[in-house]
Symmetry: none
Subunit: 228 residues, 4 copies
DNA sequence: CATGAATGAGTTTTCATTCAT
DNA sequence: AATGAATGAAAACTCATTCAT
């Protein structure tokens, strides 16, 4: 059988190095996509290696071939998810906007990103349950902070220079407020809905919440300027 | 044994019905306390029934006797955790304070509670990973919302009446902002620390954050009053 | 508490020996009835002691008090079920009927009994799965055979004497044919229905089958008389 | 290892895909055979997965790998047992025999099959205790009825055409009588023996019973022809 | 690069039975 | 006669991982 395959349709049956490399990349990407959903849905312990394999073109063996272990796969998923927002933030151009508008733009970028990447938000929650033990070992970690903080720092600096923003708040504090709001809306929506019967993702309230995150940050930053 | 029993009820070895009932309650409470730690630490799937039993005076069998299943135990843990903050909120007396001070007191109550109940915060995160599927089936659910919202609603009403607070924000929106901030500080501190190298629980920054949650809410509520 | 009970309402609270004995008998009977259903429904291994106790006024402890073990309870159920048909057969009066009519009456008695005692039929099937290991140890066993065989033997004898029935068949053979037919109709109706889509208990076919059992036995008994 | 694999396929230690597939089939068949005995012996609840595994070359894990659950294994056993008699019936050739002889041949086929397949008879009894809940969900069910009924129907038709058999009895009725007799002899032999002290499987009585099932059916079918 | 079969160690759950009063 | 609590042993089932080709 193997011999026969080699004979007939040489060009097609025999894969070149490039094709095989492309296949490999596709297999890896496929695995990563399915694993992202599975881990985001069920957490690290709740996710099933069998289930991930079953939803892929490949077999379970490939997971171990490419990622070494369930943990290795999870780490790859996590890094890939973080890479997404990092890129977005790095692309944001706010230098041409006045500090207040720039700040609002950044807040809304986070708002929009989280809403359209619920898996990322879930993975962050899951990783926190694990006390960031995986993320801490990631080699990609050092590059994760820079973009967000740099952009934010720049806006704040301009705001301070213009006498618009209060001075007792730094970039990480602002980042925390924006994140807290935008992540809560996604991450805690289920218990919030269960307890208070309000759907934080109701499209009818979206504009309200989107304006709210900007207002929240700006009112806070511009309050009593010069006082503190 | 039978002979001894026939003699009297004075003995030390002889336990009355009341005592046994008290023991049973202790067994249950013991189980619940240990399970709270285990579930908060490892999530639902990650928690081990064996491990919980091992850390108790009793045996694994008792978990099934009292709670029926791992899931039943988890639900009991969840309900018990929610009951804690519900009671706190219900006890809060803010009628004698002006709306701004009352609002700040409520925000700080949440801030303090979450900081001193990290297990509660973790359980909420875990339950959200499960899309609140357990909480939704809880019979205790209907009583969970009332206290927080009632108190908040009262403060807001007084603030509106006095022309102090903006009108386009309701109690649930305010609750969301307070919760988002206070929960994020606990729940996301690990990834935050890993990525930004800042410990959100650093005692040296505690007062700063505690003031911040009040400021955040109040600046937002008192902004441009009369405009919206 | 116990002392108080002794004082007040003496007549009512204090149960006489007779009352207690009656209560005991009722408890036993209650247990037996529930256990009959449970064992007939699920077999010996499938039946649950907890379930039986739960469906009774009493507690699980009483099962062990009265019957010693699950097995003891099952044996009591079995003996009680056999006692029912034994009594019926013993009461049958067929001396005044001619042999053929008498035989048909006996067949129809079995037919009717089994139809109205499906639990008995199920218990017999269950006991056969256990290779009659319980029944064999029953002290009631010796009395179980007599009535059926005596009556049948009498009819056969009269039939032989009158030259009506063939001689190469004894009472147990006839009993076997009648039982096989009447038990099969009850015991195997589920697989029969599943495979052939015919309900052997369909009321519309009842008369047909009832006549059939008599026909079957009589045609067989009266065939080629004198030949064999 | 890797080096050896690269050399050739001649080796003894090297198993080809085909061989492994054959092994897998053997593992499955082995499991099925052992499980048949265990389930037939102890019923569904009484059977032990551990016990089945212990009597096999493989491990308990494999039962779940191949059959998914205890129930899945039981269902496979049941289907396999039914397949046996279905094949036998389908192979029976009776077209060349006159209706009476053909009918007797069919009855004796059932008689012989049941006697040599006591496990099948026990499994049917067990499945009836479960009200055929498993069999009803079997995908093999639709094919189970056809052979038996087709053959029987053909014989009956010929018998009617020749004016030999009564007309008020259909194939399923005849099948029921034959089954009832042949199954009872196996399935109820234990209680029969316990109560009446007669062994229905006594080799000395075998010929008598084998003739009896044919007589029973034929006397009944040929009785009073033209009357009903 | 790929794959079906296999597995050991663990994990939840069940169940008849007994204890202490 | 009665009862709620307790239990050990066993049962079904699961899961990440590896083997052999």
């Amino acid at each position: 059988m193997t011999e026969e395959a080699g004979v007939a349709e040489e060009g097609v049956a025999e894969e070149g190095v490039a094709e095989r490399r492309r296949d490999a990349a596709r297999t890896r990407a496929d695995l990563l996509a399915v694993a992202t959903t599975e881990f985001a849905d069920h957490g690290f312990s709740g996710a099933r290696v069998d289930e991930i394999a079953a939803r892929t073109r490949t077999t379970k063996r490939m997971i171990y071939y490419y990622f070494g272990s369930k943990r290795g796969l999870y780490l790859a998923v996590l890094e890939h998810a973080y890479a997404g927002i990092r890129v977005l933030e790095a692309q944001l151009e706010v230098e041409h906007l006045d500090p207040a508008r720039a700040m609002r733009a950044l807040a809304e970028l986070t708002f929009d990103h989280h809403e359209s990447h619920p898996d990322f938000v879930r993975l962050v929650a899951i990783e926190n349950i694990h006390r960031a033990e995986h993320l801490r070992t990631s080699e990609a970690l050092p590059g994760l902070a820079a973009p967000a903080v740099d952009v934010l720092g720049g806006i704040l600096e301009r705001g301070h220079a213009a006498g618009l923003f209060r001075a007792d708040v730094d970039a990480l504090d602002v980042h925390m407020v924006i994140s807290a709001f935008c992540i809560f809306r996604l991450a805690n929506r289920h218990t919030f809905q269960a307890v208070f019967d309000r759907d934080l993702l109701d499209p009818g309230r979206r504009a309200h919440y989107r304006r709210m995150v900007g207002d929240l940050v700006l009112e806070y930053l511009t309050a009593h300027v010069g006082r503190a």
